[in-house]
Symmetry: C2
Subunit: 196 residues, 2 copies
DNA sequence: TTAGCATGTGAATATAAGTTCACATGAGGT
DNA sequence: ACCTCATGTGAACTTATATTCACATGCTAA
């Protein structure tokens, strides 16, 4: 039998296992059996620590919210110049989803959007904060003359995030056949041409 | 009993019903029962016209490919100025997914990407052509001086599509709480500020 | 007209997935 | 040492879903 550990530990393990399953097999394949397999424990033990699938989803949503927002807020609050902050946030985001492909897949899964509204609302709130954070950095960049005047900070933030998001989607659609990092770097440099 | 119609007609009806189900309930809820219900026929009759779910998916992928590419190719082949073409393609795309939210949801579903590779490959090819078409229009725009020199046509095309895609995703995530058309218009005007 | 065949359907079947249950095990407090 | 309770698990249960089947129906061509 598996070594015994506290619920606190097991919950973290299960959330991580869930993220791994989404990353490798997608939300559709996110079954209790798959999670249990990835976490190396029995299905019944999952239920010892979570009341059901919904609670696991909530836990994952919270984890993702913290992971995405935590980093961005720290960078935005730093003392570097806006454009430098923007670049750091951009590539942090790319690296995060490159390391955890399950993150965008979960956040933008229509199963979540249409089948778990409460969780979707939680995520929408976090994404909204994230967009605002980036919007603030861009506004500062415009104010300091690093980005061209006349730009709409919010729309420019959405454009940047769309670049990442769309590339991640194409990456999965194309069966990971191109280099995610290289592709986003090209987009970033083109963005610099566009925005300053 | 339902009025009898030829397989050719029924196939179209079933594909349309499938697209409606994806649009209203997502890929996760795309069951034979849901399709049959939406098409107003029995489940067994679905199997009279399609060998199974995979064949329905293939049919939908083909329909989507034609819908998206057909329009864009026509516009790109026209005689207007590049920037005008670009704007028309952009808003045609927005209108298309606004009218058929199932299109992006199906194309970017990880169930398709990870569970139906053959269909994903078909879609990837179409999307690739679509990107190339837009890239060509942007390149022409640069050559004719409507868009600023130094822009990378391909990356700019990806940026534009990312704007639409990301907005569509946020739209679903936010439970359709904002106006898709208005939001994309703001993005388009900001793009004009960025790109010329 | 009518035989044949394409089309339509309720019911049955098989499999998968979420959840519960009865029982096992062992770490930590007394 | 041992009692208790949190933790762990195989098996059973329930529901959902894809698919098949036996049978019904009515268009169409000769």
């Amino acid at each position: 039998m598996l070594e015994k550990k506290s619920t606190r530990i097991r919950k973290e393990e299960i959330i991580q296992a869930t993220l791994e399953v989404v990353g490798s097999k997608g939300v559709r394949a996110l079954t209790i059996a798959a999670i249990a397999d990835s976490a190396g424990m029995s299905e019944a033990n999952i239920y010892r620590h979570f009341s059901g699938k919904d609670e696991i989803y909530s836990g994952l949503a919270e984890f993702i919210g913290n992971a995405v927002m935590g980093k961005a807020a720290t960078i935005a609050g730093g003392s570097r110049k806006p454009l430098e902050k923007l670049e750091t946030i951009f590539f942090s985001h790319v690296d995060l989803i490159s390391e955890h492909p399950g993150i965008p897949r979960f956040v933008f899964s229509d199963d979540i959007h249409l089948g778990h509204r409460k969780i979707a609302d939680t995520l929408a709130l976090r994404i909204g904060n994230y967009i605002e954070t980036i919007t603030g950095v861009i506004a500062a960049g415009i104010a300091e003359g690093e980005l061209r005047p006349g730009l709409s900070p919010r729309e420019t933030a959405l454009t940047l995030l769309g670049m990442i998001q769309f590339t991640a989607l194409r990456w999965t659609l194309n069966n990971a056949a191109f280099d995610l990092r290289a592709e986003t770097e090209k987009l970033w440099y083109n963005f610099l041409t566009l925005a300053r």
